[in-house]
């Protein structure tokens, strides 16, 4: 992940770069970002963060996180990505009720009279959730008192402008210019 910081406070620039890297790695989202640009102007105050993701986040279905097979009237699921285990269980309970969903081990689930195709298609994480998580991390990096915020989202590029004053059209245009500069020639 490439992080570029420009701003009026040399100490703040370095500190925010470190803070951003720490918060992103803590949230597990650092690897999903290709480039991040930050404009830090505490004098105005105006903060603009622009994050370019590696891919447009796509929604995940149960089939993406498990291997699934049918034996007789039972569907057997083996979870391959444990991160989604709670979502999978919760979706199955919703579909078939707790009585028919038997979690045999940490990764293995058996369902009485289940429909393999229907199970495989169930969405367990939407692309919007992934985007929201990145936005949440960016908000967490922003100073707490800078409450007036403006988001621009385009494909895999997210830009957040924040100020403590009124979010004027001028500031929004500045954010859009910064957004376009980050985009450059990249195909978003």
């Amino acid at each position: 992940m490439l992080v570029e910081v420009t701003g009026t406070d040399a100490y703040g620039n370095e500190a925010y770069k470190k803070l951003f890297e720490d918060i992103l790695s803590e949230s597990g989202k650092a690897t999903s970002l290709e480039k991040v640009r930050m404009l830090l102007n505490p004098g105005t105050p105006l903060f603009i963060f622009s994050a370019l993701m590696r891919n447009v986040p796509e929604s995940k279905t149960i089939a993406d996180a498990v291997s699934i097979r049918t034996e007789g009237n039972e569907v057997h699921i083996s979870i391959s990505d444990e991160n989604y285990a709670p979502h999978i269980l919760s979706a199955l309970w919703k579909m078939y009720g707790r009585d028919r969903v038997d979690q045999q081990t940490r990764f293995d689930i058996k369902i009485e009279n289940g429909d393999e195709d229907a199970i495989a298609k169930v969405e367990i994480a939407s692309g919007e959730d992934a985007k929201q998580e990145i936005i949440g991390s960016l908000w967490r990096v922003l100073p707490e008192g800078i409450k007036a915020r403006h988001n621009i989202s385009e494909g895999r590029l997210i830009t957040i402008a924040a100020t403590e004053e009124i979010m004027t059209e001028e500031l929004k245009e500045k954010a859009l210019r910064f957004h376009n500069e980050t985009k450059g020639d990249a195909d978003v």
């Binding site: 406070d9 100490y11 703040g12 500190a15 925010y16 803070l19 720490d22 918060i23 803590e26 830090l40 505490p42 004098g43 105050p45 967490r140 100073p143 707490e144 008192g145 800078i146 409450k147 403590e164 004053e165």
Partner: protein, 306 residues
């Protein structure tokens, strides 16, 4: 400070009494036991031998007998738990009782505020450590958060601010906002630096108090208060906390204020030689500020004149 197990700790407490020392704080957690004590210097060697023989260790804690507030701009995840709690932790390791406090509206360069109640609460402690952020202009713009605080203020920030010397006893830069624990060698060194500066500030305050000593030392008053049944029965951890110029006792003022005021200290009513008030945090604690000898003499001569 003794740090060890509960096993044979009664021998330790007896020895503290025998050498004429006082127990400032006792904390028991399961089988672990820590005792902050004040003993004559010449008995330290003997005390160390005794503590080693019962399986514990002894170390000097320069901040013993103080209660310090560590103040962050808010309790939000932007400012807590790090580095506010890291600072509080190192102060506790050095013997102080600490309180972590987040202001209700301390965030924002132009919108930050502190209420009179918050100022009064901070003024109950021996010192206040303000932990602010990474931008110089923002730190400088937030001086109103501590300019009316009467107890010594130690400012911990990222960059070194300018023009704040008259509002703070000490300024330590190089910390700022952090999202993870201060655990690198440089960060641990910085925390030690903060603790050392707090120690210096409080030593200066102690020296100032020595010029016009308190009528009774807080530790002596603590021994008297420990005999008061409701304090003995209090289940709160550290029901009596020492301050440099008084104590905090964790029992309600409206129930016990009169009984406390009527206690006798060196032939005087406690209410006549100390200012006793309810804590501004809530009604479950009492703040006792002991008057200096000259204040007591003044009050006496004013009484005789009348």
């Amino acid at each position: 400070m003794y740090d060890g197990g509960i096993y044979r700790s009664n021998e330790l407490l007896e020895m503290i009494e025998d050498v004429g020392g006082v127990v400032l704080q006792k904390t028991r957690s399961a089988q672990m036991f820590t005792v902050t004590m004040s003993i004559p210097g010449e008995d330290r060697g003997e005390m160390e031998r005794m503590c080693t023989s019962i399986g514990g260790t002894v170390r000097s804690v320069p901040l013993a007998g103080t209660e310090i507030a560590v103040v962050g701009p808010t309790l939000g995840r932007h400012h807590m738990p790090h580095p506010v709690c890291d600072v509080a932790e190192v102060l506790r390791q050095n013997g102080s009782i600490t309180v972590v406090m987040g202001l209700a509206r301390g965030r924002g360069k132009a919108t930050s505020q502190i209420s009179v109640t918050e100022e009064d609460i901070i003024n109950e402690y021996d010192a206040a450590i303000y932990v602010l952020g990474n931008f110089k202009t923002c730190v400088e713009a937030k001086k109103h958060l501590f300019e009316k605080i009467r107890v010594p203020v130690i400012l911990v920030s990222g960059p070194m601010p300018e023009g704040l010397d008259e509002y703070c006893e000490a300024i330590i830069s190089g910390v700022g906002r952090k999202s993870e624990r201060m655990r690198t060698p440089d960060e641990r060194k910085k925390l030690e630096e903060i603790s050392d500066r707090v120690d210096e500030v409080l030593r200066a305050r102690k020296k100032m108090l020595e010029e016009d000593p308190l009528f009774v030392h807080p530790a002596e008053l603590k021994q008297l208060l420990e005999e008061y049944e409701p304090i003995k029965e209090s289940l709160r951890p550290a029901p009596i906390v020492l301050h440099l110029d008084g104590l905090r006792i964790k029992i309600p003022m409206h129930e016990h204020g009169k009984a406390i005021s009527d206690m006798t200290v060196y032939g005087r009513r406690l209410g006549d030689i100390a200012r006793i008030s309810e804590s501004r945090i809530n009604d479950s604690s009492i703040i006792i500020k002991i008057m200096t000898r000259s204040e007591v003499n003044d009050a006496d001569s004013a009484g005789k004149g009348a």
